[in-house]
Amino acid sequence: MYDAIVVGARCAGASTALLLARRGHRVLVVDRSSFPSDVISTHFLWPHGMSYLNRWGLLEQVLAVTPAHTTVEVVNDGISLTGSVPIELLREYFRDLHGDDSGVVQSCASVRRRVLDEILVGAAAKAGAEVRTSFTVRELIVEDGQVVGIRGRTVDGELVEERARIVVGADGRNSFVARTLALPKYDERPRCTFAYWSYWSGFDLGPAQLHRRGRLACAVVPTNFDQNMVLVWGPSEWSREFRHDVPGNYQKALDFVSPELGEVVRTRGTREERIYGTLDQSAFLRPLHGPGWVLVGDAESAKDQCTAIGMTHAFRDAELVSAALDRWLRGDTSIDEAMTVYGDRRRSQNAAAYHDYVCTLAEMRPYRHDELQLFVALRGNQQETDRFIATHADVAPVSEFFQASNLFLLNDAAKESSADHAVFEDFAETSRSYQQNLFA
């Protein structure tokens, strides 16, 4: 009999197992995969994601093999902003959400899952969690409406049954736990992006760059093995046409969004792997918990990749849920009360506002004149640029940046105007041309 069985041993699961084991609870964590291995992911960690790793003592191990930077460059229709998430906002985030702000770091990094997940699984095992890989969960054991354990097949093909006081579903968007319990989906937003990416060697462009033009975007981010992740994305309405020629359209999208990057990739880059892709990214929430079970990470709240927040959110959930479960397992509170605390944090107004923010961005509508003008107004205003980046990354609440008096002030303090940026010439025509499917 375990205190907790965690289904899924990647960002959400291994972390939850690690944190519960460190608090002295008996934990079993299982995963279908063996490690190291990859999984579909844009594998970017924002500074709060890196801070979690640091709080758990794992950051050094990650940084030993992964390039990291404190700044990111965001270029929207040629309007470039460079900034970093302010340390005070990071501290505030950790104090508000977790009650302490230790271990905060300002860097961000792109970590391949075959690197990161192995570190997490190793740390969970070292902390005393029992880790079983190549383990397939076949059934949830339910008694009197209460989930009390799992039945599954071990790596040797043996069928086993394990029981625990709680089963944590950390098994991603397609969660077996959620599907078996037939959990409904809430707050669905079907419009999302398609994303295609691969890994390139041959160039080093420094910190992460995110570019957006019309309805398409691309990112070049340095990652492990001296490679760059080069990612393009666009509205899923265009995905069928994109698929007709994936390598050709991948380059075409790069050339369209940033001719400079397209040139670098074409002339200096060597592609090291096949091109990967997904368009199954529509956002939804699931119920967070029920009798004998609780969900964390993508299983409870899946979102589009366009703000690259999934892994950071999985770490956040791991800290929240392990703190809540710990109080209950120690007998300090009831399970209902512990889950209410977890639920309040995860279904808060700020969470709702960020959900809407990501989903709206994922529709990949061409930026409107006023949105682009906001980016112009931010140029030269480092403090507000940083706050905008912090808002984009879900460190600072959407409501604090997108507040009337703040936006008016930003406008008034602008140092540049639309006259300084080419996109505003004949804007109406440009905007219309952006509606054309580039791959049709």
Binding site: R32, S37, D38, V39, I40, S41, L97, D171, R173, N174, F176, R179, Y186, D187, P190, F194, S236, E237, R243, V246, R271, E272, E273, R274, I275, Y276, T278, L279, D280, S282, R286, L288, D344, R347, S348, Q349, N350, A352, A353, D356, T360, H369, D370, E371, P397, V398, S399, E400, F402, Q403, A404, S405, N406, L407, F408, L409, D412, A413, A428, S431
Partner: protein, 517 residues
């Protein structure tokens, strides 16, 4: 690596598997699945990648796998069609239209208008409702589509229910008879009457300050006071949530504007010290509301005024919502903090408790009064309050200060407590402190807009506020309570509101709650 490089992309492979499934070609399905990347296999753990061949004959399971693969393969919006008007109406925000494109000022407002029309068609536009009769605790209104509704009225800012008070109506009728409907001109020319002088004296008495100036609206008073006093080299520290008239006044007056964290007096002290460290020559105006209408709370004005004096800064407090409706003898937040007569500048509005239009600026300085009259453009260059309005406010001020005023405030607060207790008891979040404004936090705009649509037909008239009044993602119902609300009416309204929110959540299939963070 080369072999991995040459492998086909997963989307193409899934396409082939789906085609093969339709042909019943299980061999191709299994062979193609083995080429699917580790990335996708580890992600789509619900697909039995290694066992596709075994699906032969298992029709139900095959159908499920085909459905799951299709979900990965087809854009989701093709599966879940939505009403485009409703989607457009609910997903947008007024801020999305703040910077229209194009050089033709007449045509570039069309985009915004398109959104307004979508919200009207979906009955989620809260801004164009009209009254069909004098409102009291119940009102009858018509919406954009000409539909009528009658409901418990939380839309009036008539906190002491003066709109139906016989003495108020009598005062209006008498002024109409004596002076006619027109104020002859600007108060600087001949717009004021004997009643105006009486009113200035009565208001000065109420807030404990000797010199009062009247303005045609509350907005004009706030804007005029700020632009009248502050020049380009001066500084303004303003609470983030201070009223729009003060925010816009600040923007018009100087670029040196700091918006400090709501209610944070320590932040003000810090900002003042920073400014005074480099600028000892110019003025600093610190601006706050008394009772904040958005969050129903108020600052520690005692400390704020002291901090201002320590740094040679001037404090302006807007008492539009609290004066008359709360505090000892209706003296509002100032009276509650024993500050009558000792705040630098006080401004207020008559549009709430005083049952009219108009506003005022008060201080202990006759010089400041004359200066603001001259340089606060909204005083000099607007027609004065009409004699009817002035008389109504004067009569309202008299009642506010009388025993009847105390009785009305007691009734008001009984209704406020009934409403807040019932809402809180039902698990909803009332923000701030008990005051005539009860902000009921909703958060998500979509939820607020659809709940508002339901309330229209269910007998509660509540005003929904969203951006630009509140920050994005922090919408709420602003329930404005009146002395005329019976406690049972307030509780009934709370029950109806809770039902509407629950039904909207179900309609939107939303799992978000109302905890703030």
């Amino acid at each position: 690596m080369t072999t991995e490089l040459d492998q086909r992309e997963d989307g193409e492979l899934i396409g082939i598997i789906l085609d093969a499934a339709h042909r019943g070609d299980f061999e191709t399905m299994a062979r193609t699945a083995s080429e699917v990347s580790e990335m996708t296999r580890n992600w789509a753990t619900h697909i039995p990648w290694d066992d596709l061949a075994s699906l032969e004959g298992a029709d139900d399971e095959l159908a499920r796998v085909v459905a799951d693969l299709t979900e990965m393969w087809e854009p989701a919006h093709l599966r879940n069609p939505v009403d485009p008007d409703e989607e457009y109406a609910l997903d947008k925000n007024a801020y999305d239209f703040y910077r229209p494109a194009g050089r033709n000022l007449l045509t570039r407002t069309e985009d915004f208008y398109g959104w307004v029309q979508a919200r009207r068609r979906t009955e989620t536009w809260q801004y164009s409702r009209v009254l069909e009769a004098a409102p009291d605790s119940v009102a009858q209104i018509t919406n954009d589509l000409g539909r009528r509704a009658r409901g418990i009225n939380f839309n009036s800012q008539d906190y002491l229910s003066f709109n139906t008070h016989p003495a108020i109506r009598e005062a209006a009728a008498k002024a109409m008879h004596d002076y006619g409907p027109h104020s002859a001109g600007s108060p600087m020319v001949l717009g004021n009457t004997r009643i105006s002088d009486d009113l200035e004296a009565a208001l000065g008495d109420l807030v404990g300050l000797d010199h009062v100036t009247l303005f045609p609206t509350g907005w004009a008073a706030g804007f005029g006071a700020v632009v009248g006093l502050v020049r380009q080299s001066d500084h303004i520290l303003i609470d983030r949530l201070a009223h729009s008239c003060l925010q816009q006044g600040a923007r018009a007056a100087t670029r040196n504007v700091v918006r400090y964290e709501h209610l944070n007096v320590e932040a003000v002290r810090r900002h003042l010290a920073e400014i005074r460290a480099t600028d000892t020559r110019n003025g600093i105006l610190v601006v706050t509301d008394g009772l904040f209408s958005v969050d129903a709370d108020w600052p520690d004005l005692v400390t704020l005024q002291r901090v201002c004096r320590e740094h040679d800064a001037t404090l302006l407090v807007d008492v539009a919502h609290d004066l008359g409706s709360m505090g000892p003898g209706g003296t509002g937040v100032l009276g509650m903090q024993n500050l009558l007569g000792s705040v630098d500048i006080v401004m207020g509005a008559f549009s709430k408790t005083f049952c009219s239009n108009g506003g005022f600026v008060a201080s202990n300085s006759p010089a400041l009064k004359q200066y603001v009259k001259m340089f606060g453009g909204s005083h000099f260059f607007s027609n004065a309050l009409s004699p009817v309005q002035t008389a109504v406010v004067r009569e309202a001020t008299r009642i506010i200060r009388s025993d009847e005023g105390d009785a009305l405030r007691a009734r008001l607060f009984t209704a406020i407590h009934a409403l807040r207790d019932e809402l809180t008891g039902r698990g909803l979040t009332c923000m701030g402190e008990p005051s005539p404004i009860v902000p009921l936090l909703i958060g998500n705009e979509k939820l607020a807009r659809t709940a508002n649509r339901l309330l229209f037909d269910r007998g509660v008239l509540a005003f929904m506020v969203e951006f630009p009044v509140t920050p994005t993602g922090s919408s709420r119902f602003r329930l404005q309570v009146q002395a005329g609300h019976r406690p049972e009416e307030a509780r009934e309204a709370a029950r109806i509101i809770e039902g509407a929110i629950a039904d909207s959540r179900a309609y939107l299939s939303s799992a978000f709650g109302s905890a703030p963070r």
